[in-house]
């Protein structure tokens, strides 16, 4: 029960780097975790013979048997609740929720038990659980298949919340999540399942709770995570043409939050835009904007702006592109960062930057 991320680093058996999809990287992470720790058990709907509707568990039941990789009845509260009991017995369950909206039936188990069990028992019953949830839209899914539900989870003390934006992180963060002694809500950006990247399974796992600066720039900071990372990188590229050098911070870990990396960037640039695809109102972007403002107020040339999904139920496929933050909407927000004020405020706040 005291395994840490470090224990699970792979001993290089001949270093290997491969170009894989994010789905494949996740598959590899599950494979390696199952192989290394016999307390790891996978549970979910259609994760066995079918390999999951996104094929993330492809081949794992064949390799590890249906006790390690178990198809369950369709009952999300039952899945998560039995995982709680399994964790109490010392196992490390990895649960798959088939789509974000289908995790809602498990909400009571998540909030009232998974998140609280360690605390209420003063450490006697830790919950080394990983809850994999494919999240977000952009894949042409019909209603209830594209929710971005992270705001519910980040507000629940006791949970870690993680969302990879790159192939390497998909592997590394999932390994770290399974190795964590705390419950981790692991949000897999559906839109990026088929995106490709380099994977080196022998690389050091990302330190839990750390953000990554994906691109440096001095004009303003884009703060983002998960499915919005590629969009922000694209926007940063496009911004060059307008004369802006945008820094892109990829949170990776939503909880715990890496105040240090985020604030260091914003203090450097003096401007920030938060980007995520979930609805904006009381979305996670509100927390980011509020805490960055609290901590960096005197460095800010403009309010921290948010580019998010609208405050509407996720739209049908024909309209989802209007809802999701795109490059132009991000650039528009960057344009509204009160560039005209720079000279005046530079004079005003002088040495503070």
């Amino acid at each position: 029960m005291t395994a840490t991320a470090a224990d699970h680093r792979i001993t290089p058996a001949g270093a290997r780097t491969e170009t894989v999809t994010m789905a494949r990287a996740l598959n590899r992470a599950l494979h390696d975790a199952l192989a290394e720790d016999d307390r790891v058990h996978l549970m979910g709907e259609d994760i066995g013979a079918l390999g999951g509707v996104f094929r993330v568990t492809d081949g794992l039941a064949a390799r590890f048997g249906d006790e390690r990789v178990a198809d369950t009845p369709i009952a999300e509260s039952g899945i998560l609740g039995t995982a709680v009991g399994m964790a109490m017995y010392g196992l490390r369950p990895v649960v798959e929720m088939q789509f974000d909206a289908f995790a809602y039936p498990a909400f009571e188990q998540l909030v009232s038990h998974v998140a609280k069990m360690r605390n209420r028992t003063r450490g006697a019953l830790p919950m080394p659980l990983t809850i994999r949830i494919p999240y977000g839209g952009g894949i042409g899914g019909v209603e209830h298949h594209s929710d971005a539900s992270e705001a519910y989870y980040v507000h629940t003390p006791g949970l870690h919340v993680v969302a990879p934006g790159t192939v390497a992180d998909a592997y590394g963060l999932l390994r770290a999540a399974i190795a964590s002694d705390d419950p981790v809500v692991f949000l897999e950006p559906k839109r990026l399942y088929w995106s490709k990247g380099e994977l080196d399974r022998t690389a050091r796992l990302p330190e839990p709770g750390t953000a990554a600066v994906r691109r440096t720039g001095s004009s303003a900071t884009l703060i983002t995570y998960g499915s919005s990372l590629p969009v922000c990188l694209e926007a940063a590229e496009a911004a060059r043409a307008e004369g802006w050098e945008l820094e892109v911070v990829d949170l990776r870990s939503l909880v715990p939050f890496d105040d240090e990396t985020v604030c260091a960037s914003v203090r450097r640039t003096g401007r920030a835009v938060v980007v995520h695809e979930a609805s904006g109102f009381a979305g996670f972007g509100a927390e980011i904007a509020a805490r960055v403002t609290e901590r960096c107020f005197h460095y800010l040339e403009a309010p921290v702006l948010r580019v998010t999904g609208f405050d509407i139920p996720y739209p049908p496929p024909a309209l989802e592109r209007h809802h999701l933050p795109g490059v132009d909407r991000i650039l528009d927000a960057v344009a509204r960062l009160q560039w005209e004020s720079t000279w005046e405020s530079r004079t005003r706040s002088g040495g503070s930057r």
Binding site: D46, A49, D71
Partner: protein, 378 residues
């Protein structure tokens, strides 16, 4: 003291109040109590339904539907259960029950609005007394119990048909729905299509119950099994249960034994989890063919009628193809979704000031010709 073994799925000679599956069409008689016109209509609808499944599948391959969960093989369930309803009754379909909705008289294009990706829902629920297709499994069964309760409270006599798959019976909501309906003696017919699979998961990983109909006992309601590939048996069973419900007798649980011949949806690969032989065996029990044979044996169907029905189905399919070959029309009831600014219209009775701001933002973007999130989404 010893605990007695429970009744198991394979145990013979159950002494439980759940009998063998009702079958009517395999002899020449068996359907004689049903009006001949109804029998022929059941058949005509099966033919339409089979064609609808084929057409929807074809449209999906052409990219005209986002996704299609086919009911091929399950047409007898979809048609028989719905034709058994009276006008005043309500239907609560789950995501697969497009054919049930069609059979209820909803325009084929409106049936497919959700699956077309155009808007979340297509038809007027009150005009047809048909709730939206429910995607979150089992949730609609509770709505059905609630609507039935409301009708009771208002003194209205009607029955509510709540459709659900075998896998979805594992959800807590199924339990709560049956319990609410039973405690309230509400007029609901819970109709489980046991097609053997929940996507890839076979029924024996879903439940250890002797049959799904046995679940009725724990709620104090009758449980009945029916041959789900026998449209007359489905019709007759649901009719009896609905009559009972309307008369104040309370809810019934019906389990229809059938098979999902196609993959779960067009996106699924069924060869990963089941054998061709299994499918073959069920194809021999094809509900359309069985009913056709039965009607021919009973002398209720001739070549001309078969041809007429086939042509009618072709016509429906052709029209559907034509209507779905173009992009959604924002002004038609089946296509209003494509208007981007309508995204804000129905979140609340009146848009909040926040939504009006967001609507204005999008309007400005559209007017300025800004690119939306991705011209081509993955």
């Amino acid at each position: 003291m010893d605990i007695e073994e429970p009744v198991t799925m394979n145990q013979e000679g159950l002494s439980l109040p759940v009998g063998d599956p009702v079958t009517l069409i395999d002899g020449a008689a068996g359907t004689e109590t049903i009006d001949a016109g109804v029998l022929v209509e059941l058949y005509r609808r099966l033919v339409l339904g089979r064609r609808f499944n084929q057409q929807a599948t074809a449209l999906t391959k052409q990219g005209r539907l986002a996704v299609y969960p086919s009911t091929t093989g399950q047409e007898a369930c979809q048609v028989g259960a719905v034709l058994a309803l009276a006008d005043e009754d309500w239907l609560f379909p789950t995501y697969r029950d497009t054919l049930a909705v069609l059979t209820r008289g909803v325009d084929p294009a409106e049936v497919l609005t959700l699956l077309r990706g155009d808007w979340h829902h297509g038809w007027d629920p009150h005009a047809h007394r048909v709730a939206p297709l429910a995607t979150p499994l089992a949730t609609q069964t509770v709505h059905a119990a609630g609507l039935a309760r409301a009708a009771q409270l208002r003194g209205d006599s009607l029955a509510v048909l709540a459709m659900i798959g075998d896998g979805a019976t594992s959800e807590g909501d199924f339990h709560e729905a049956l319990n609410f309906a039973a405690v309230g003696r509400s007029p609901v017919v819970f109709f489980v299509q046991n097609n053997g699979y929940a996507i890839s998961v076979p029924i024996d990983k879903q439940t250890a119950a002797p049959t799904l109909a046995h679940k009725a006992i724990g709620y104090g309601m009758p449980g009945v099994r029916v041959d789900g590939n026998d449209v007359a048996a489905v019709y007759e069973t649901v009719r009896a249960a609905a009559d009972r419900a309307r008369a104040g007798g309370g809810p019934t649980l019906v389990e229809a034994l059938t098979y999902r011949v196609d993959a779960h949806t067009n996106a699924d690969d069924a060869t990963r989890y089941r054998d061709a032989e299994e499918v073959e065996a069920w194809l021999r029990r094809d509900p359309v063919v069985r009913m056709e044979n039965h009607l021919r044996v009973r002398g209720l169907l001739d070549e001309a009628m078969v041809e007429e029905f086939r042509e009618g189905a072709e016509r429906m399919a052709g029209e559907l193809r034509a209507r779905l070959s173009t992009d959604p029309d924002p002004d038609s009831s089946a296509g209003a979704g494509a208007d981007a600014l309508s995204l804000f219209d129905h979140v609340y009775a009146r848009p909040t000031s926040q939504l009006l701001e967001q609507r204005a933002l999008l309007a400005r973007e559209l007017a300025a010709g800004k690119r939306a999130a991705k011209e081509a989404i993955a």
